[in-house]
């Protein structure tokens, strides 16, 4: 019970740390020392105390963007299991609500971007909502596999019980699903090879260009929301890996932290060794992710009693 109460604390406080790990890995790979692990905490704290500047073009929608984005991602995070601990919220079909909460955040973030009337931010908004069409495809194919493997429609149980079902090929299927969800993670969080989170004002950007006009506390909320979203997807991938690997079912907080860090390191490594894809290739890679999950479904269905 205490662990279940601890869940939101880990989620809400630990999230920025994970992005710090990614940045550190990228710096080390590039031969630099890199920013401190806690840099994002400092950044958010600094932004919260700063003054805001608003564009004359904007309306209330501009501030509704970060507000709805943050509220929806916090709620969505409360459905993701942390370690072996089931999420504090959970019911039959909660994963659908999870996906649609993220869609709500996306809707308002993109609308806020268009509210500025800037061509650049419009471009970011288009790409965000466009790529989401293909990530949803991959994500829901993965969810079908999990529902089939675990026999449950509750996100926590779908992740925790998927590997211990009666199907022999479950672990292989789970690895395929984990790979698919990892691609979704990269795309949803606008990481390389889909987007470059470090560039501002380049034509390559999706997420960063959408929030170009936000400043002060609004930008702080955006950064924090992005960190939460990254944590939430990393936790999903880590949970899937833990289910897939032959760890004997008993795995504690330490292993969970290690897997979480491994996902962050993997993101850092991918970002260090790859370049951003050409825009037209992005849907293909995401559809590829969906096909991985579809193969996993075939594996899962084939051996069903």
């Amino acid at each position: 019970m205490t662990a279940r109460l601890l869940h939101p604390v880990v989620f809400l406080l630990g999230a920025p740390l994970l992005l710090g790990v990614v940045v550190k890995v990228k710096a080390l790979a590039a031969g630099r020392k890199g920013a401190p692990l806690l840099q994002l905490y400092f950044d958010i704290w600094r932004l919260l105390r700063k003054e805001m500047v608003l564009s004359r073009t904007t309306t209330w929608v501009f501030l509704a963007g970060p507000a709805a984005g943050l509220a929806s991602v916090v709620l969505a995070g409360l459905f993701i299991p942390v370690g072996r601990v089931e999420a504090p919220l959970g019911f039959t079909g909660d994963f659908i609500l999870f996906a649609y909460l993220l869609a709500l955040g996306r809707f308002f973030t993109a609308a806020a971007a268009l509210d500025t009337g800037s061509a650049f931010e419009g471009m970011g908004a288009v790409r965000e909502v466009t790529f989401a069409c293909f990530t949803e495809l991959a994500l829901f194919f993965s969810l079908i596999v999990l529902a089939r493997l675990s026999g449950s429609l509750n996100l926590s149980r779908m992740i925790l019980a998927a590997g211990s079902g009666p199907i022999p090929a479950a672990r292989v299927a789970l690895l395929l699903v984990a790979a698919s969800v990892f691609l979704v993670l990269l795309a949803e969080n606008c990481r390389i090879p889909f987007d470059d989170p470090n560039t501002h004002l380049e034509l390559t950007m999706i997420h960063e260009v959408m929030v170009l006009d936000h400043s002060g506390p609004a930008l702080g909320a955006v950064l924090y929301g992005a960190a939460l979203k990254f944590f939430l997807f990393s936790s999903l991938v880590a949970g899937l890996l833990a289910s897939a690997l032959p760890l004997g079912g008993a795995w504690g907080w330490g292993l969970y932290a290690a897997l979480l860090a491994a996902v962050a390191v993997l993101v850092g490594v991918v970002e260090s060794v790859m370049a951003r894809l050409r825009l037209v290739h992005v849907p293909r890679l995401l559809i590829g992710g969906g096909l991985l999950a579809a193969f996993a479904l075939l594996l899962a269905v084939k051996d069903m009693p």
Binding site: R56, I96, A125
Partner: protein, 661 residues
């Protein structure tokens, strides 16, 4: 006795709605008074009908009446079961709202030549809509159906001086009569198979059930706008006055859903592939409908294509329920049908809201071209906020109503995975789940585009700069509809009992309590938390930004930004349209830029309806050509025609004697 009263109230309500437009046609002075009189008639009719509906819901009975009449076939049979009630309620809500909206939108003062006619046919259509869903006899059904269809034709062609309106009117007329022909054929088969025209569950017997099913799928699918039978829908919805579009999209096309639901309820022993066919057609409609919507520049055409999408979602639920009946799975029936029927309500709410919002925008700016709008959230804040609610609802986003019905359909589709049937075969409906998810994401893309291009950013034209809020008679109906979106989104458990009654009517023996497996309490709780959390965050940001200095939008160092540099509807959809080019076949008119100082050039893209342009119109032209060869038969001489008749009579005689020796 009580049963009789509730049906009498409903019939009186239908009559009041149908005749509400009559005062405007009478030759007496005081047009303003007749306007208000017909709105009052609509409201009174809806109130009467609502009272009847409530009475029967409270009593929990299925009132039925049947009288003989003097027509050679059929009887005057009406009844109100759970299924009819679900489809009757949207008419009773949307028709008076459309009528009130029409007071400001299409007033006698601004449109003296067409306002009275419009009100008359609007009332007639509303009455016919009510009659269609309670008719329990094929002949009565067809009469009501035809009145509804023809009234809608006169509503679509309100502005018949414009060629595009006439064109879409003709297309609609051709489509709706093809639908009627298919239905007449289906009901004739029904009559010959069961020996009566009563629309009641057929006795378990062999019969041409598949032929009847396919004919009703054609007839009702045409009316519903299911792809590929949707070709009439975009033009008709775009060219009708906005409150008519709202009623047509919100209620009229659902009559196709009702018809198919009714037919599948009374046809015995459906084979599995019926449901599978509906599921496939529904999935194709959902994905391609929204893909077409993204490619549109015309606000109302875009909304019309979203009707194709939502009909697709409804058919997915209906298909799953039908498969559930074949497989004897109550949970598929419960979730599939409840999701489909709740989506009928939800679509009626948010699509009416969006069409009324679009009407206000068109009222203010005088154009349907989204690329000429922009920045309207400043000049029309109330309309903008209400449209945003509709936009979020149609995307299926929590905490609004669209989410609840899509959630039920998702749950139903996921139940398929839990089945213990031979695995691969039974799991395939689950493969439609990712496409439903993709539809949702595409809808988000489309409505971000609509809302961003129309309401946000800088105005793109002088008309938008001088835009103004519509009068209260136009905003009030929108507020009611938006409140309905929140109500169902936040309190879904309050409406599920109605769906439960409909399930019992559709598949007797199915336990409607299965619906209580749906975690609707959680949806309420999370929806409330979401609204609370977002509101807190918003108020905090608002307070921090209250004294914020205002500046221009950061324009990346560009010296002279202009509103024309904003993202347009076309540029927004360009990438996604490219991804769906295999289905949409976009046409590009790109200029060739040559030399260091190229001349000014125009760039245009068009997406025309492939089914219409490459399927139906070529077939139509070909058939005109083919039948042209038969023109020699028509000579204009009486004696030749008499000869034809004689030959035909002899042929008939020969055939009938050959058949019955």
């Amino acid at each position: 006795m009580d049963e009789w009263v509730s049906l009498a109230l409903i019939l009186a309500g239908i009559a009041a709605m149908a005749l509400s437009g009559l005062p405007g046609l009478l030759p007496f002075r005081g047009a303003g008074r007749s306007e208000r009189l017909s709105a009052a008639g609509m409201i009174a009719g809806a109130a009467l009908g609502g009272a009847g509906l409530t009475a029967s819901a409270m009593a929990g009975n299925v009132p039925a009446l049947s009288w003989a009449w003097n027509l050679p076939m059929g009887r005057f049979s009406v009844a109100l079961d759970g299924l009819s009630a679900v489809f009757l309620l949207p008419t009773l809500v949307a028709a008076p709202l459309a009528s009130i909206y029409g007071l400001g939108y299409w007033s006698e003062a601004r449109h003296p030549e067409s306002a009275a006619r419009l009100r008359f046919f609007l009332g007639l259509m509303a009455g016919a809509l009510g009659m269609v869903v309670i008719a329990r006899d094929a002949v009565l059904f067809l009469i009501a159906w035809e009145v509804m269809a023809v009234a809608a034709f006169f509503l679509i062609t309100t502005e018949d001086e414009a060629p595009s309106v006439r064109e879409s009117g003709w297309l609609y007329l051709a489509a709706t009569h093809l639908a009627s022909l298919a239905l007449i054929a289906a009901f004739s088969l029904w009559n010959s198979a069961t020996g009566s025209t009563a629309l009641e569950t057929a006795p378990q017997a062999a019969g041409p059930w598949t032929a009847i099913f396919l004919l009703s799928l054609l007839g009702f699918g045409l009316k519903a706008g299911l792809m590929p039978f949707h070709v009439w829908l975009p033009g008709a919805h775009a060219n009708a006055p906005s409150h008519v579009s709202a009623l047509m999209s919100g209620v009229l096309i659902k009559m196709g859903v009702y018809g198919l639901a009714r037919m599948t309820a009374i046809l015995p022993a459906p084979p599995v592939y019926w449901g599978g066919l509906l599921l496939l057609l529904g999935t194709a409609s959902a994905v391609l409908g929204v893909a077409y919507a993204i490619a549109q520049h015309d606000l109302k055409r875009l909304l019309a294509y979203h009707s194709v999408e939502n009909i697709g979602i409804i058919f997915m639920g209906l298909g799953l329920a039908l498969m559930g009946r074949s497989a004897g799975r109550g949970d598929w029936i419960a979730f599939g049908l409840a999701g489909a029927l709740l989506h009928v309500w939800n679509h009626g709410l948010f699509k009416s809201l969006l069409f009324l919002g679009a009407g206000s925008v068109i009222h203010a700016t005088g154009t349907r071209e989204m690329d000429r709008m922009g920045g309207l959230a400043k000049s029309m804040p109330r309309t903008a906020a209400l449209f945003l609610i509709g936009a979020a609802a149609i995307c299926g986003l929590p905490p609004l109503n669209g989410f609840v019905s899509e959630f039920l359909i998702y749950l139903g589709l996921f139940q398929v995975l839990q089945s213990s049937h031979a695995a691969v075969f039974w799991a395939w409906p689950a493969f439609t789940v990712p496409f439903l998810a993709m539809t949702g994401a595409l809808a988000v893309a489309c409505f971000v585009k609509v809302y961003g291009v129309v309401f946000l950013g800088e105005p793109r034209s002088d008309a938008c700069r001088g835009a103004h809020e519509p009068p209260a008679s136009m905003t009030a109906p929108m507020i009611v509809l938006a409140a309905g979106c929140f109500l169902i989104g936040l309190l879904p458990w309050a409406v599920l009992p109605f769906m439960g009654r409909a399930i019992s009517a559709w598949a007797p023996g199915t336990d409607p309590l299965l619906l209580s497996m749906a975690p609707v309490g959680w949806i309420s709780a999370v929806g409330g938390a979401l609204i609370g959390g977002a509101a807190l965050a918003f108020l905090w940001l608002r307070r921090r930004g209250g004294s914020a200095p205002l500046a221009g939008t950061w324009d990346c160092g560009y010296v002279a930004p202009s509103p024309r540099m904003q993202y347009t509807a076309s540029s927004f959809g360009q990438f996604l349209v490219g991804q769906f080019a295999w289905a949409l076949r976009p046409r590009l008119h790109a200029p060739r830029l040559e030399g260091p100082f190229p001349a000014p050039a125009r760039f245009e893209t068009h997406v025309e309806d492939v089914a219409l342009q490459r399927g139906i119109l070529p077939a139509w032209r070909w058939s005109l050509l083919a039948f042209g060869r038969l023109r020699f038969l028509q000579q204009g001489r009486i004696q030749v025609y008499v000869l034809y008749m004689a030959v035909f009579a002899v042929a008939l005689l020969a055939v009938s004697m050959g058949l019955q020796p």
